[in-house]
Amino acid sequence: MVRRWSGHGLARGEYRLRQRFVIEGIAAADAGEELLSAEASGTNSALGLAWDAGRMGSDYEFEQFVRTIEPGLRRALTGHLAREAVADALAEAFAYAWEHWDRVMHLEHPTGYLFRVAQSKVRIRKQGFLPWSSRDATPDVEPALVGALAGLSPAQSRAVWLVHACGWTYAETGEALHMSPSTVGSHVSRALGHLREQLGVAVDG
């Protein structure tokens, strides 16, 4: 069985189901929504749906890949990029994924990898957390938190952003930041400590 891509930014059940989709060769996205509903309702009868072999080409597979990981990648990129750069970075990342699809489709943590690609394409891999510009129509909802995040080291702010704001695992975050999961954990731990101190948030919050 060939491991293909897995999802980010998905609820755990959805993630598992989409993994099963790919692993079992079930690639009908429209049917997928039905499957998700079916699982949520405690039934799996929709799993009996035949998959549309005619749509199983790489184009279609890539479309599903984009559809699945785009929300998580977009969310992750909003931490350390200017607001106006996020869309460009997303486009660059997916263009890269398309150009290297044969390789990307087999990655264990493709979202983390593409996060790194996007950062590289816009050449700000070492930048710290960015407050969004004041000319934004909708200012940040957590100005104090944004200020505290901006006070962290780039590595700490990226790690805590991906793990706690975006729900990534340590392994996924490690892939994105090119560091070991244990180093991610260390950065996250320190970042949370600093943030709690800065914001006066109790540990059990």
Partner: protein, 397 residues
């Protein structure tokens, strides 16, 4: 989930909602783009081949005038060491200093500093002391080597090239083999400690990133039959040391750190850094039998020699929790330095040594009273710490 984590999520959701979702261009446009890129890559590949040939030619000319490799590679057997050279010492990995500090466990004083790595390179893990106390290893995951130190002389006796990302080392009970986990895809390197040569390379798992980088991600069961590897994704893999085959996967908490076995080998304790808990694994059933809440960011674990207590460093809190193994009761936290990482207990069980990563110090806890010493300055960013094992002749049978 705490308030802070909720606020982070809210901020991310708010930001993401302001960015329009990426829309897929028609796939025929993508196909055209991919065709163009392939032609570009062909041109780049040809240019790279030419450049590669030029570089190799230059290196051959340079090598002709050079004096051999810079990495010391052991040949034959390593210099012999004597029993007892290790007794009464503790070693601290100054991870950002490229050194080990040697502490006298009788006086608590730093008696020597051993250069073992390059501080500008980093990635220094350990120390890993063989059960017979004769050798001490430090791995360097960024340059792919291990440094071997004779504990009798506190000097470097070999540097072993190990390949990609060597992290932790654990030893067979007779000290004849050192097992090295790597941060690459599922390899385990076995070193003969007598020669310093690689005796075998085992595949552990199939195309999985099994051994993930962690200062101490793997630990040998006291009987030497199995290796518990921390996958750092909330699971441990149990590997049969003879074959490298994975015999079980154990789900523990989130962000697992150290793994330590009780001296009788019946239980393994795992510090779950993110959850603030310790998972207790019954080794007979290879299943989690209890989860014990401790402080925030638990990372290091060490048992007293009688197995009655486990000392756990709470990295976030700057404290140590003591678990009574019979009841799983947890003591009031003992304040040490900032962001403690490694903990180790002297062979007489009287003292626990704790490496305070941010303070560049070591705290000594008197186990009978919980009293904490004045911090002892060591090198920069101490992480791992280990005391020498009791000489075999003096160990309880």
């Amino acid at each position: 989930m705490g308030e802070l984590e909720d606020r982070l999520e809210r901020l991310a959701e708010h930001r993401a909602a302001q960015i329009p979702a990426f829309s897929m261009p028609p796939t025929d446009e993508l196909a055209v783009r991919r065709g163009v890129m392939r032609r570009h890559r062909l041109v780049v590949a040809i240019a790279a081949c030419v450049a590669f040939a030029l570089v190799i030619g230059g290196l051959l000319i340079f090598a002709h005038d050079s004096h051999g490799p810079t990495v010391e590679t052991p040949a034959g057997t390593l210099p012999s060491t004597t029993d007892g050279g290790c007794t009464g010492k503790a070693y601290v990995n100054n991870s950002a200093h490229g050194t080990l500090s040697v502490l006298d466990t009788t006086t608590g004083a730093v008696t020597a500093t051993i250069p073992v790595g390059q501080p500008e390179v980093g990635g220094q893990n350990g120390p890993f002391i063989s059960p017979d106390g004769k050798q001490l290893y430090v791995t360097h995951n960024l340059d792919g080597t291990a440094t071997v130190i004779s504990t009798a002389t506190d000097s470097v006796v070999a540097t072993i090239p190990l390949g990609k990302e060597p992290f932790s080392i654990t030893f067979s009970p007779d000290s004849s083999r050192a097992y090295v986990t790597h941060g690459d895809e599922g390899t385990l390197t076995v070193i003969s400690t007598a020669t310093g040569q690689v005796a075998a390379t085992l595949r552990v798992g199939e195309s999985r990133r099994v051994p993930q980088p962690n200062p101490i991600p793997s630990t040998m069961t006291p009987d030497g039959k199995h290796l518990y590897i921390n996958n750092t994704d909330g699971t441990l893999s149990v590997i049969t040391t003879g074959t490298g085959a994975a015999s079980a996967t154990i789900h523990v908490g989130t962000g697992p750190g150290d793994i330590a076995f009780t001296p009788d080998g019946k239980d393994a304790y795992v510090a779950n850094q993110t959850d603030g808990t310790v998972s207790v694994i019954t080794t007979a059933t290879v299943a989690v039998s209890a989860t014990i809440p401790v402080g925030h960011g638990p990372l290091g674990i060490a048992f007293t020699p009688d197995g009655k207590y486990a000392y756990v460093t709470n990295n976030t809190d700057g404290t140590v929790s003591v678990i009574t193994t019979a009841t799983h009761a947890v003591s009031a936290p003992i304040a040490v330095g900032t962001q403690p990482v490694g903990v180790t207990i002297t062979s007489d069980g009287k003292y626990a040594y704790v490496a305070n990563n941010i303070d560049d110090t070591v705290s000594i806890i008197t186990t009978a009273t919980g009293a904490v010493s004045t911090p002892i300055p060591v090198g920069s960013r101490p992480r791992g710490i280990a005391v020498c094992p009791e000489p075999i002749a003096n160990q309880p049978r």
